[in-house]
Symmetry: C2
Subunit: 207 residues, 2 copies
C-alpha cells in the first residue's frame, strides 16, 4: 500500500477531540447539530452541521449503512447511460442527476435501488455491475452518506411512478451528449453525475 497506512482510521491519535454533540433544531427529516470540540491547540470550539440521523454519524463508532442510494444505470438494450432531470427545491430549478433516494428503515440497498429506479424512471434493474462502500456527500457540512450502485437496466422510461412531489424526466444519453451536457452553459448538474458523465463522454465507459 506504499503511501497509505492500512490501520483503521480510528486508531490514529486525534489532534482534535469531540466533547459533545447536541441537536439544536427539532424537525422531522433534517436537523442542525452542534459539536463542541477542542482543537489541536486545546482551545474549545463549536462546529455546526446538518444531519438526517439522530444521533448523527459522529456519535457512532462504525460506518453504518448509507442514508441513500445513488444509481448509475446503463441501458444495455439501447446502449446508453440513463440520467434524470428533476426539480430540486433547494436550488429552485431543474437539476440533471442520477436516480437516487433515501434507504427506508430496514430496507436492503438492493431493494432500495430497484424501488427508486422503478419509481423515478420506470426502468428495471437487470444486472448488478458494482457498488461503492457508503461514502460521504460533503463532510464539511453533513454526515450524509450514499452508496453508489452501477447497474444495467431495461424497459421504457415512464413517469407513472413519480409522486406529486416529484417532477422527473428520464434521458438516455450517448457519450457525445454526456460530454456536451458537462459543458452546457445553463444546465445545473449534480457533482457525482458530472464526474460520471465526463468519464463516459471521454471514454464511452461508465466505470
Amino acid at each position: 500500500m506504499g503511501g497509505i497506512p492500512s490501520k483503521a482510521p480510528g486508531a490514529w491519535k486525534m489532534a482534535m477531540k469531540i466533547q459533545s454533540v447536541q441537536k439544536v433544531t427539532d424537525y422531522p427529516y433534517l436537523n442542525l447539530f452542534e459539536t463542541r470540540y477542542s482543537d489541536a491547540e486545546g482551545r474549545d470550539r463549536v462546529w455546526r452541521f446538518a444531519s438526517r440521523n439522530d444521533p448523527p454519524q459522529c456519535g457512532t463508532d462504525i460506518r453504518k449503512s448509507p442514508d441513500a442510494v445513488v444509481i448509475v444505470p446503463f441501458h444495455a438494450g439501447k446502449n446508453r447511460l440513463v440520467i434524470i432531470r428533476e426539480f430540486r427545491l433547494s436550488i429552485g430549478d431543474y437539476q440533471y442527476g442520477f436516480p437516487a433516494g433515501l434507504v427506508e428503515k430496514g430496507e436492503a440497498v438492493a431493494a432500495s435501488v430497484s424501488r427508486e429506479l422503478r419509481e423515478e424512471t420506470g426502468l428495471t434493474v437487470t444486472r448488478w455491475i458494482k457498488e461503492s462502500p457508503p461514502v460521504y456527500s460533503s463532510a464539511g457540512m453533513t454526515d450524509e452518506s450514499v452508496t453508489l450502485v452501477y447497474v444495467e437496466c431495461a424497459g421504457e422510461p415512464s413517469r407513472l411512478g413519480n409522486t406529486a412531489s416529484e417532477d422527473i424526466e428520464t434521458f438516455l444519453v450517448t457519450p457525445d451528449e454526456a460530454a456536451a451536457l458537462c459543458n452546457a452553459e445553463r444546465a445545473k448538474l449534480d457533482v457525482k453525475t458530472w464526474l460520471v458523465l465526463s468519464v463516459y463522454g471521454a471514454t464511452g465507459k461508465i466505470c
Copy 2:
C-alpha cells in the same frame, strides 16, 4: 444533442411552484431554510434544506459562483494523485478526500484553488488541467455547489499551513493504491474522491 433538450432549464413549465423561502435558524455559517411550495397536484407542502447562503440558491435566478472548490491535484514530478486524510467533525473520524475549501468573498476560483492546496498540503499549482461548472453536492439536502478543478502540482507535502482546526495528512497515491483504498474495509471516503480514485485505479488516468 438527441435526447437532451438544449433550452435553459428555467424555460420548462414547472409542475411544482415555490411560494416562499424562509430562514428558520440564525447561525453564522450554516442554517436551515423552509420552502413552502405547491406540488404537482396543487397541494401546499413544506421542504427543509441546509444552506451556507442567505438568500439560498433557490432565491436567485442564475447559477452563481460556487460555495467551494474541490481540487483534484496530480503531482507530475512524482507521477501520483494527491489525496488528503482529514478529521471531519460531522462524521467524528478521519475521511480520505481531496483538498477543498470555501471560496472567500470576492475571491476568484483560481486564487481559492492555489490557497487551499497550499494551506492543506503545502503543494503548489503548476498547471490548470480543467474545471467543472459549479455543480451541486446533494441537492436533496442543500444548495451547496462546488467547482471541481483538476491541476498539476509540485513540491513536498507539508502541514505547516494547517490551522488548529485542521488535522490533515497528505498522501501521493499510485493507481494500485487508489484501487485498494476504494475497497478498503474501514476507510471512510468522500464520494467525489471515491469516483475519481476508482477511475484512476482502473485506468491510471484522472480524467
